[in-house]
């Protein structure tokens, strides 16, 4: 089989960072080629070069033997390359149709042919098995739905080379299944597919071959995915052995610390919502599982006071009533929430890594109640950069320049670095994070729990929920549908509660 897409000695430098260092590998037509590697290893940078967004500083890429020099994304599209980027790139105030056909709207007598556009899109969506209203504005969609729009946009190009950068990090099971089916179809059609993910199960399920990156360099290419042992992949990636990434540690679990009763939104967006109640014990890790839109995020936002709750709710922490809650009160009471959407709700894009870590941590640690302690803040930042292995040239680096996974680590550091934590709510904490770092994060979670803190973890990754939770709450259609102790939890039991009957 001949190589359809080849990278040769590709290098890319940013100030203080060598993102790609003379990387060479090739991908075949009709095969899915996986890319994996630690956060910041250079995977996305490679795709940006493929997509014409960056020019390589050295080296070149070839398509069907032809050397390419892309000057813009338009050039790459013209050469038959479609890239689904890690950070979603949609236009919020345009419709699904317009987003999908962005840059290639059909015309008639010089005017946009709206009927044709709509027809084209709805037919295509149907063929792909994706349920989306073509006339809906993107702002009104969930993240998962927006991700599906992104995917459809790329597929609409009918490109020969299609590259996916962590497409499933915000998809639900159902949508993931659809995506896999689509990718397999594309493979049948002889397209060349590049697929980036941190989820090893996915890579095994989908890829024919894979290439592993570390620190901007290619470590290895495996021509037969099935022939590679998971341990080999992991050690190639993180440079060390890692037998069990969850590494669950038993802890002393104490009495109930957080008691939530009758929590429901004041202005409920959906009519099927009922007041919800649950509790967390001291030192306990409580997992929340559910399908997309199950209402986990919404519930936690109420608890944290971002959205206001209807009267009648009560929140007791250490026997003290806290409702009605507002964010600043939550934080001063020792409750923190790490949001699920790092781009919209997490990062301060223009600020440094250090600032991003310290923003929520400086209350009560000021000189004369007014001035910042710069030295301590720097130290805290450095400590977490090291602990979570955040790949950045320095703590002063602007966070927007970090890789997606590393940004996520910074946001986690912001919340885990808090002193005097009582309740930590982590909403999809390991989204986009490499296995090595996941392991680190789990360890920190156990550490935090060991201090007697209540930890709530929302995750759509079932193995993760099963791997780290002491107890699992399952949600469905806006309500808690069941509760499982660690001992009684397994995949089937959890899914049974999560899926509609």
């Amino acid at each position: 089989m001949s190589a359809y897409l080849e990278f040769e000695q590709v290098s890319k430098f940013f100030p203080g960072v060598t993102a790609l260092n003379q990387v060479s590998f090739s991908a075949q037509a009709g095969r899915v080629h996986g890319l994996l590697g630690e956060n910041g290893a250079g995977k996305s940078t490679l795709l940006k070069i493929l997509g014409g967004q960056y020019k390589p500083d050295h080296g070149c890429l070839r398509i069907a033997g032809q050397a390419q020099a892309f000057h813009s994304a338009g050039d790459a599209i013209a050469a038959g390359v479609a890239v689904i980027h890690q950070e979603l790139q949609y236009v919020p105030e345009l419709t699904v149709t317009e987003n999908i056909l962005l840059g290639r709207l059909p015309r008639r007598f010089g005017f946009v042919d709206k009927t044709a556009a709509r027809k084209l899109v709805s037919e295509r969506l149907q063929a792909l098995g994706v349920e989306l209203d073509p006339d809906q504005l993107l702002v009104n969609l969930s993240i998962a739905q927006r991700q599906m729009v992104e995917i459809c946009k790329a597929l609409m190009q009918d490109a020969q080379i299609i590259a996916f950068d962590e497409p499933t990090s915000s998809l639900s099971h159902r949508e993931t299944e659809i995506l896999f089916r689509i990718i397999r179809d594309l493979r049948e059609q002889g397209r060349t597919i590049i697929y980036i993910s941190h989820r090893l199960e996915e890579l095994y399920a989908l890829c024919d071959a894979c290439t592993i990156f570390r620190d901007g360099k290619k470590v290895a290419t495996h021509a037969q995915m099935a022939a590679v042992a998971q341990d080999t992949l992991i050690s190639d990636m993180v440079g060390r052995e890692l037998s069990d990434i969850y590494d669950y540690q038993t802890r002393q679990v104490g009495a109930t610390r957080l008691q939530v009763t009758n929590l429901v939104a004041k202005s409920a967006a959906r009519s099927d919502q009922n007041p919800q109640s649950f509790f967390v014990r001291s030192g306990e890790i409580l997992g929340f599982f559910g399908l997309v839109g199950a209402g986990r995020t919404e519930l936690m936002r109420l608890l944290y006071g971002i959205d206001s709750a209807a009267a009648g709710a009560s929140i007791y922490l250490d026997g003290k009533e806290l409702a009605p809650m507002i964010v600043s009160k939550a934080i001063t009471s020792g409750i923190v929430l790490c949001p699920e959407d790092r781009k919209e709700q997490g990062i301060l894009a223009q600020a440094s890594v250090a600032e991003n870590i310290n923003i929520a941590n400086r209350r009560g640690n000021l000189i004369a109640g007014l001035f910042l302690r710069h030295a301590e803040e720097a130290q805290l930042a450095d400590q977490f950069i090291q602990k979570l292995n955040i790949k950045t040239p320095s703590r002063e680096q602007t966070i927007a320049n970090l890789s997606g996974g590393n940004q996520q680590k910074v946001i986690l550091a912001r919340w885990l670095a808090q002193e005097n934590l009582k309740v930590v709510i982590l909403d999809e904490p390991t989204r986009g994070i490499d296995v090595g770092a996941k392991n680190e994060i789990y360890r920190i979670i156990y550490e935090v729990a060991k201090t007697g803190c209540c930890v709530i973890v929302i995750s759509s990754e079932l193995p993760e929920i099963l791997g780290i939770s002491d107890r699992i709450m399952v949600m469905r259609d806006g309500q808690i549908s069941g509760e499982l102790r660690r001992e009684e939890a397994n995949e089937a039991a959890v899914l049974k509660l999560a899926l509609p009957d």
Partner: protein
């Protein structure tokens, strides 16, 4: 996941979206057409309560008074929609008027005068566009700089003095009426028509909204973002120059210090009409309403003989009332 389960998930989510998207018809009309509706009500009230307001002479006068602002608001809408900003329009109006009048004085050729002014407008616009899109100068500073320079040019070429116009056919354009409507008002209507179509029914318009909504996404989808931005500014320059010529014809002279502060009026009319300064959101009907509100407020205050100093107060209050009404209704919608 089994196919059965899949199907029911789909059902649930459709149920949810149905629940969300069907409020009662009046509220949804209000939400969608809130501003036009509010303006209609305002208009009706004024017609009944303010003497002389609802008369053809007054309404024509009103429209005439917003004809320049309205024309430029059409292109400013595009400019803001693409997340840009243009402070140079006031100066361009003045310069185009002066230049047109000068050329007319020398050559007595209307065609030549119009061509010269329009060309100048196009160059100014394209200059702004290149500065902003290619040299990546901040739009505020770039257009502030052109605003100063173009105003300077207007003074320099006219030597600071009004340039008289005595060409009959040019002068009569500002006066002439077709079907009872003065030409400037007709031009205004045509502008709204053209830019309404441009915004909603052409690739140009949709791409403009796209680059305002998310320039990176547009770029990645292969939209020629920079070229498009230059075009938007260029068109703005051309339309502004035409507005300047019409003004010159109405006042039968090119005045180098005309239209000072014009830019702020135009931008305000757009923002009032719901165009977002963050880009990506624009509606031609909104802009029309914005322009009409600005004109009506002024018209009514003069009809009611409001003291000049109190007019400042009133204008401020009415601006606030208009946006707060808008805010209230959109907030109502989002819950």
């Amino acid at each position: 996941m089994s196919p059965q389960n899949q199907a029911s998930t789909v059902q649930t989510s459709t149920k949810i979206s149905k629940l969300i998207s069907k409020p009662n018809p009046f509220i949804s009309l209000l939400a969608k057409q809130g501003m036009p509706l509010a303006y209609l009500i305002l208009f009706a009230v004024l017609s009944l309560t303010v003497e002389n307001f609802f008369s053809s002479t007054n309404l024509i006068g009103l429209m005439l008074s917003v004809s320049q602002i309205g024309m430029v608001a059409c292109t400013m809408m595009m400019c803001l929609a693409s997340r840009d900003f243009d402070l140079s329009v006031g100066s361009t109006i003045a310069f185009a008027g002066v230049l047109g009048a000068l050329v007319l004085e020398r050559s007595d050729s209307v065609a030549l005068a119009i061509s010269a002014a329009v060309l100048a407008g196009a160059l100014i616009g394209a200059g702004n566009g290149v500065l902003i899109a290619y040299l990546r100068v901040n739009a505020l500073i770039a257009t502030l700089a052109t605003m100063l320079m173009v105003r300077g040019l207007a003074f320099i070429v006219s030597n600071g003095q009004a340039v008289g116009i005595s060409n009959e056919s040019f002068m009569s354009f500002g006066d002439a009426r077709v079907a009872g409507l003065p030409m400037p008002v007709i031009v205004l209507a045509i502008c709204f028509l053209i830019f309404g179509v441009l915004l909603n029914h052409t690739v140009f318009g949709r791409n403009t909204l796209a680059i305002g909504g998310n320039p990176e996404a547009a770029e990645l989808a292969g939209v020629k973002v920079r070229a498009l931005r230059v075009w938007i500014f260029l068109i703005q320059g051309v339309v502004t120059a035409i507005a300047g010529l019409i003004l010159a014809s109405r006042i039968t002279s090119g005045q180098p210090n005309a239209a000072q502060g014009f830019e702020l009026d135009v931008i305000s009319a757009c923002v009032l009409g719901g165009v977002s300064l963050q880009g990506g959101k624009a509606k031609i009907s909104g802009v029309l309403i914005g322009v009409l509100i600005m004109g009506t407020v002024e018209n009514v205050m003069n009809l009611k003989d409001v003291d000049t100093f109190y007019q400042y107060l009133m204008r401020g209050l009415i601006l606030l009332a208009a946006v707060m009404f808008d805010q209230f209704r959109t907030r109502g919608r989002h819950g």
